[in-house]
Symmetry: C2
Subunit: 305 residues, 2 copies
C-alpha cells in the first residue's frame, strides 16, 4: 500500500490541470475538506463548480451515520454548497443498501435491531427494511429486574432479528447494549455504520460510532462488518450505484487512515489529501508510513488556481 511520496499540486497550474483531466468522478470526504464544523472553507463552492463545469461527477461520501441523505443535503445547503440528494453517500445509506441488496437475509428473520439515530431509520425505511430499537422511546430508560429476566429467557426479544446495526447513538444506554448483546449472542449478524472512534466537533472530540459498537465487540469477540470508510463494502455500494471506472475516480480527503486508505484499497485511479483537517504532511512523510496519498494540496481551493 505504501507508494512514493505524493505530488504537491498547490501553485502548479499545469500539474493541477493534468491532475483534473485524469478523472471522471471525484469522491469527497466533507468535514475537514469542504468545511470544518460549521465553517465553510473559502473557495469550496467555486472549486466544486469548476469540477462540475469540466464535466466531473461529484459524490459526497460521509461516515456520518446520524443523518439520512436528505438530512445531509440540508446541511450542505445550509453551508451554501449546491448539491442533490443523489450526490450524497452516507454510512446510514450504505448500511441500508448493504442489508437490502447484498446481505439479503431471507424473511422473516431479517429484521434489524438498531443502535442509532433517525438517519439510520430513514434509510432503512427507504430500502423497505423492518427494524426495532433506534429512536424508540421504549428503549430510552433504565434497565429493570424484569429486563434481566426477559432478556435472559428471550421473552423480551424479537425472534425475527437477523441483524444488529450499530451507528452513532447519542442516546446509548445499558438497556440497549443488553438487547444488542442478546441478539448477537443468538446469532444475529453484526454490522456497524462506521467505526470511527471519535466524532470531531467544536475543535475537540466526542464519542464516535466506533465507540458505540466497541463494547459489543469486547463482549462478543466478534468484529462487525463496517459500512463506512475505509470499508470496501462502502466503495462497492458507491460503485454499484454510480457505475464508474475506478481508474477514472479520485478520492479526496483529510484523513490518511480513513479517506486515503479508502481510495487506495478501492484501487481508485487517484487519491488527493488536503491539509485542512486531521492528517499532516509529516504523517505520510514519516518512515514506515503505511498510507500515502498520490497527490496533496494545502487546501481544496488550491485546485482552482
Amino acid at each position: 500500500m505504501v507508494g512514493q511520496l505524493p505530488k504537491y499540486l498547490t501553485g502548479d497550474p499545469a500539474a493541477i490541470n493534468e491532475f483534473i483531466d485524469q478523472f471522471d468522478i471525484f469522491l469527497f470526504d466533507c468535514d475537514g475538506v469542504l468545511w470544518s464544523g460549521d465553517h465553510l472553507f473559502p473557495g469550496t463552492v467555486e472549486t466544486l463548480e469548476l469540477l462540475r463545469s469540466r464535466g466531473k461527477k461529484i459524490v459526497f461520501v460521509t461516515n456520518n451515520s446520524t443523518k439520512s441523505r436528505a438530512d445531509y443535503q440540508k446541511k450542505l445547503t445550509s453551508l451554501g454548497i449546491p448539491s442533490t440528494v443523489d450526490e450524497i453517500f452516507a454510512s446510514a445509506y450504505s448500511s441500508a443498501i448493504y442489508i437490502s441488496r447484498i446481505l439479503r437475509l431471507p424473511a422473516p428473520k431479517n429484521k434489524v435491531f438498531v443502535l442509532g439515530e433517525n438517519g439510520i431509520e430513514t434509510e432503512l425505511k427507504s430500502e423497505g427494511i423492518e427494524f426495532i430499537g433506534g429512536t424508540d422511546p421504549a428503549y430510552r430508560r433504565d434497565i429493570t429486574p424484569e429486563d434481566y429476566k426477559g432478556l435472559a429467557d428471550g421473552s423480551l426479544l424479537d425472534e425475527n432479528i437477523g441483524v444488529v446495526l450499530a451507528g452513532l447513538d447519542f442516546h446509548i444506554n445499558y438497556l440497549k447494549y443488553s438487547h444488542a448483546y442478546q441478539y448477537l449472542a443468538r446469532g444475529a449478524k453484526f454490522l456497524a455504520t462506521n467505526i470511527d472512534s471519535t466524532l470531531p466537533s467544536n475543535h475537540t472530540f466526542f464519542p464516535g460510532a466506533g465507540s458505540i459498537s466497541i463494547p459489543l465487540i469486547h463482549m462478543t469477540k466478534q468484529q462487525p462488518i463496517a459500512l463506512g470508510k475505509p470499508s470496501q463494502a462502502m466503495m462497492d455500494a458507491i460503485e454499484g450505484k454510480f457505475q464508474f471506472d475506478r481508474k477514472k475516480a479520485c478520492m479526496v480527503g483529510d484523513r490518511l487512515d480513513t479517506d486515503i486508505r479508502f481510495g487506495i484499497e478501492g484501487k481508485l485511479g487517484g487519491t488527493l489529501a488536503v491539509l485542512t483537517g486531521v492528517s499532516r504532511k509529516e504523517d505520510w512523510e514519516a518512515e514506515g508510513a503505511s498510507v500515502r496519498p498520490a497527490y496533496y494540496v494545502e487546501k481544496l481551493s488550491d485546485l482552482k488556481g
Copy 2:
C-alpha cells in the same frame, strides 16, 4: 506461568487435609464458587466454617464494583453466609484504597470523575476522596448543544479532576462519556475498578465494567490501571490491609483468566479451582493452556469431605 497439571482433591481426605494445612489465609472469589446468581451452593457455609475452625483467615474478593463492602456484606448475609465487613475486598474499595494510599495525587487536582454506581461513591467517601459524576442526576440526561460547547472550551469541566475512575455504570450515557473523555484528554489518570467485559446474571451475560471503560480506551488509546482481579494492584492492596505471607495464602476461584491468574501472578502459595462456574477442566488440560491452578475440586464443599 504454566505449571504441571493440577492435583485433584475431591474424594481424597488425606490430600485435602494436607492442602488446608499449608495455608493461613484463603482468598475467595464469590459468584461461581460460593453461589451462582441467587443460588447458594450446598455446603458453602459449612466449608467456610471448617476453614475458620482450623484457624484460617477468610477474605471475600470480588470484582463487583457497584457495591460497597457494607452492601456486599448484606448480600452475603442474605445468602446465609456469615461474614464481617472487614473480610470483604471489592473492586470499588480496592480503587478507593489505590487512589488515597498509592496514587496520592497532590491537592487540589486530586478529585475523581466517576463512571459508576453508589458502591464506588461510598468507598471513595470512606477514604475521604472528593468526586463528581457517579449517581449525580445532573449527568443522567441527553447531551445538549451547550454541553458540546462547554466541554470543548472547558467551562463545564472541573479543573481539579485528576482521576477518571470507570466502574460498572447501569446509567452510562453519551454525556458521561463526553465528560470522561475530556478529563482524560486533559491529562487525568485513567483507572478502572475492573475490566471484565461481561457481567454474568440470570445464566447469561450483560455488559460488565470493562464494557463501560472500553469506549474511552478506544478514544484515547490509553489503557486504564485496573484495580480488580487479575490486576496485582488489587493483590497489593489486599496484602497491605491483611498483612500475610503470600506463600501461606491460597486463591480460590472458578475463572482461570481472572481468579487463578490473580493468584499465580501474585505468587501465592496456592491456587484452587472449582468447577461450579465459568472454567472447565478442559481449559487447563488443553495443550498451550496459559494458566493452570495448583489444585482443583468439583465443588468447594468437597473440601469438607
